[in-house]
């Protein structure tokens, strides 16, 4: 079994590596120091299991676990944490394996033996008990078998077209299988609904004008495309633009 060790502290990784190496049927295939690195390493090494620290700078373990589920064949995840405030009871009831640091050898052996994949419901329950990370820092798209991360801070718009939503930044266009509604719920304070089919980033709103056909459209900093504003959202969009300019 190939194990990927993810922890921001080098001594912690070192210790897990030497513990894992003692088990006959396990080997460490790589290490990562945060969520972004973990996703890249998971693509590169195709681990069977991740030992995933929860509290890490940049992208934390909970968000990384969420993104990993997008892979066709996601690895199993065992959370490791030094903090009992991640509502251990909640972990237990949902049968997500977690290990408290310093990790005991017997517990690690047991967890690796039972290593199982997380279901979406389990991730959601873990997410619900985590009081920091409700909002993702990046959107993750499946691209040719791997994963591509798009930082939310760069995103100009989400545009829905039938089954997919296009995520757009000045340099990236990717499709994700999420609904505008769920994106609006999660990022409602950064993105504004302008039409049944579009959310735009309030921070990048540049202006509003009318096309020759009489439709209102907004422009956004850093990209050429313009997006139609429906009559229903017009007053709200104008107010936001005005308050940004004022």
């Amino acid at each position: 079994m190939k194990v990927l060790v993810v922890d921001d502290e080098a001594p912690a990784r070192e210790r897990l590596r030497s513990l894992v190496d003692e088990f006959e049927d396990c080997s460490v295939c790589g290490e990562a120091a945060n969520g972004q690195q973990a996703l890249a390493a998971a693509g590169q090494h195709q681990p069977d299991v991740l030992l995933l620290d929860i509290r890490m700078p940049g992208m934390d373990g909970l968000e990384a676990a969420r993104h990993l589920q997008l892979l066709d064949n996601p690895p199993a995840v065992i959370f490791t944490t030094a903090y009992s405030d991640y509502a251990i009871a909640a972990f237990e009831t949902h049968a997500v394996d977690y290990l408290l640091k310093p990790v005991r050898r017997e517990r690690l052996a047991e967890a690796l033996k039972n290593a199982r994949r997380l279901t979406r419901a389990q991730i959601a329950s873990v997410q619900a008990t985590d009081n920091n990370g409700n909002e993702r820092s990046s959107i993750c798209a499946r691209v040719r078998g791997g994963l591509q991360l798009v930082p939310v801070a760069d995103i100009r718009y989400f545009h829905a077209d039938q089954k997919y939503v296009t995520v757009g930044t000045p340099g990236i266009r990717v499709l994700v299988e999420e609904t505008l509604k769920s994106l609006e719920d999660e990022f409602g304070d950064r993105f504004l609904r302008i039409h049944r089919n579009a959310l735009v980033a309030t921070a990048f709103l540049a202006g509003i004008d009318r096309d020759p056909g009489g439709h209102y459209r907004v422009s956004l900093q850093g990209i050429e495309e313009r997006f139609e504003v429906s009559r229903r959202h017009l007053a709200d969009v104008r107010r936001r633009i005005k308050s940004l300019q004022g």
Binding site: P57, K101, P102
Partner: protein
């Protein structure tokens, strides 16, 4: 503890040092019966604590000391600095993937000792209002007032990406 567990395997002599540092910290926090200690002792304890954190965080933690201007025999209530440094690490350094520098500055102004601890903050963290952080701050503030009355104080300030906590107390020598 996790760090020490790791070091026991790879570098036992460093683990031994860490356990000695930790013992001093435990001793100081369990035996807080003394009303005053010297600033020199307090700074030693702070360095021991930071030594342990440096093992854990590696190159992500840098500390710059500028405390030579304060006489070492000045008296302070024990364990005033360590909780403030712990806050600086937990809320300032740990959330930064590349880490950062904590600055400890000490000076004497008009018969008052002034010590500042400065750490970088990320946009997302609400350093000032974090509950644990506030409790530590209030506790230290109270202990300073208990020891020195109204001549002592604690202030915090956050701007330009830095968090600064300043404590002041009268320059009195250990008896």
């Amino acid at each position: 503890m996790n760090t020490i567990a790791a070091l026991t395997r790879s570098r036992p002599e460093v683990a031994e040092e860490a356990i000695q540092d930790l013992s001093d910290l435990f001793r100081a926090s369990l035996g807080q019966s003394h009303e005053f200690t010297s600033l020199d002792e307090e700074l030693k304890l702070a360095r021991r604590y930071l030594h342990i954190e440096a093992l854990r965080l590696g190159e992500r933690l840098e500390v710059e000391w500028q405390v030579d201007a304060v006489p070492p025999e000045v008296r302070v209530p024990p364990l005033i600095l360590q909780p403030l440094l712990e806050n600086a690490i937990y809320h300032g350094i740990e959330p930064l993937p590349e880490g950062g520098t904590i600055r400890v500055n000490g000076d004497v102004e008009d018969g008052q000792v002034v010590i500042e601890i400065i750490n970088p903050v990320t946009d997302g963290t609400t350093h000032r209002n974090h509950v644990g952080n506030r409790i530590a701050r209030e506790n230290i503030h109270q202990r300073l007032e208990l020891a020195f009355g109204r001549k002592a104080g604690l202030e915090t300030e956050e701007r330009d990406g830095y968090h600064r906590v300043t404590i002041r107390f009268p320059e009195e020598r250990v008896a």
